[in-house]
Symmetry: C3
Subunit: 203 residues, 3 copies
């Protein structure tokens, strides 16, 4: 279950990376690298911080093949994927939902404090995209728009509330990941943001 | 002593991060993440390079609480902190002074060469701010202005000169950190810069 | 042999870093840091991903002295180095050729899959420059222009084809590294690029 979520996250982020690399008119190897970095960047950072080395994708060649396959798929069907203007956003959102859960699980395996696990989930979910944005010289969207980090943190809190109850672990995974995805989708759709703390200022 | 310096560095950098995140109009979770990255970024990079994993803040939950507390404090009293135009600069400078010493100590614990210890001190002191600036899409100030790296390196050299004498270790810490802070403050106040190596060129 | 290639790569990248830092009018310590980061950035990232910590340059002080020496040399003779407009490009290209081989060798030492070794070679070769560009607030050239990643990957493939034959390992190193350098030089000289996948679009 954990493994499948990881794979789905890789595919989602790889396609999201390919779509941004398209926009930047990169050559095919450049596209592949951006897809790679977006897919494994957050998880790799998490592994490095935990000391899980060599990091995940280096020890399991299947990740590389999946990224390669997703990239080729996205390049071939780019006209159809591009057609949906919302597709990049959607794949990105699914990716952060899945990876938040993956990161929390890694933190639990290392027996870390719940607060640290949530931080690790947020890092795993968001830093692949952050690295992608920095490499593409885009402003990382995470810190300003679209309730990115907020969604991850709420999903993480959901996880640690749910495991207080006698619920199957896989179900907790699915619900927590879904919370991340739904929070972000709703926030963007209805332009919900956190309470504005800047209202009283004129700076 | 070492632990207290570390804590003070975390508070200084957290507040410096909050102030920059304010400028960028981030939401509260975004502010928290920038405060977090600024506080622990340099030390985390140092830990990762040394192989001290899981990195410091993951194993000691107190760091997270201090960052959270500093962030809440800075948000609540932001009008007063903002009032002082120099406050960001000041907190940043105190942070680099403290962290230079923390990084050198980590290098000594790993029995590294003094030159490498100074490099590690400089990394620990400056890369939290560098990562903060990159995430905020600001030009990292370190490499061009305000004698940033120079101050760290001079503080590091001070450290290794002082330990040749029979001085208490805590005193050496305090003097070296103060050198970093004073050098930077004086350099900015009197617009002192390193000898200009570009004068003979017209490029 | 492996050690000599590593040293030559460090010198090439250090000088390439100094030249960019000149352009940015950094002070001498800023120049030193950029030279340092450019030289050891890619290899350090590779070491961190593999868990080879403390990373290479921390355990072997000779690296720091070579970077320091190269930096002083490049500063003193900057007018002559600057004269050659192509010099930055040339040093950069030699550096990626040498480091691709260094990264592949590290992957082989860790008994990783050939595809992962090529990825590691590409990371080792290119991320010093990427980090340099990000710190200098330049657009990282790797992903768009000059067949950067493509050259590394082709060099890596050459390596794994050649070791199928009974050829001396040092010779394989030299040929693979040369492939990277030649591919990049030819591609830039004749403006060769990968097949354009954007022709059918008008976006």
């Amino acid at each position: 279950m954990f493994y499948i979520i990881n794979i789905l996250g890789i595919i989602s982020f790889a396609i999201s990376g390919v779509l941004i690399a398209f926009h930047k008119k990169m050559d095919v190897f450049g596209i592949l690298i951006i897809a790679f970095v977006t897919s494994v960047g957050g998880g790799t950072l998490g592994d490095v911080l935990l000391g899980n080395t060599p990091v995940g994708w280096m020890e399991d060649i299947i990740f590389s093949y999946i990224i390669l396959g997703s990239t080729v798929f996205a390049i071939i069907f780019r006209s159809k994927i591009n057609y949906l203007r919302t597709s990049l956003f959607l794949f990105d959102t699914i990716g952060i939902g899945l990876y938040t859960v993956v990161g929390i699980q890694k933190g639990l395996n290392a027996e870390l404090h719940p607060v640290i696990c949530i931080a690790l989930g947020t890092i795993t979910a968001s830093f692949g995209g952050v690295i992608r944005d920095i490499l593409c010289n885009e402003i990382p969207v995470i810190f300003r728009k679209e309730v990115y980090a907020t969604a991850c943190i709420l999903g993480g809190i959901t996880y640690f509330v749910l495991i207080l109850f006698p619920i199957n672990n896989d179900v907790v995974f699915i619900i927590s990941g879904s919370v991340v995805i739904v929070v972000r989708l709703l926030a963007v759709k209805f332009k919900i943001a956190l309470p504005n703390i800047y209202s009283s200022e004129k700076e």
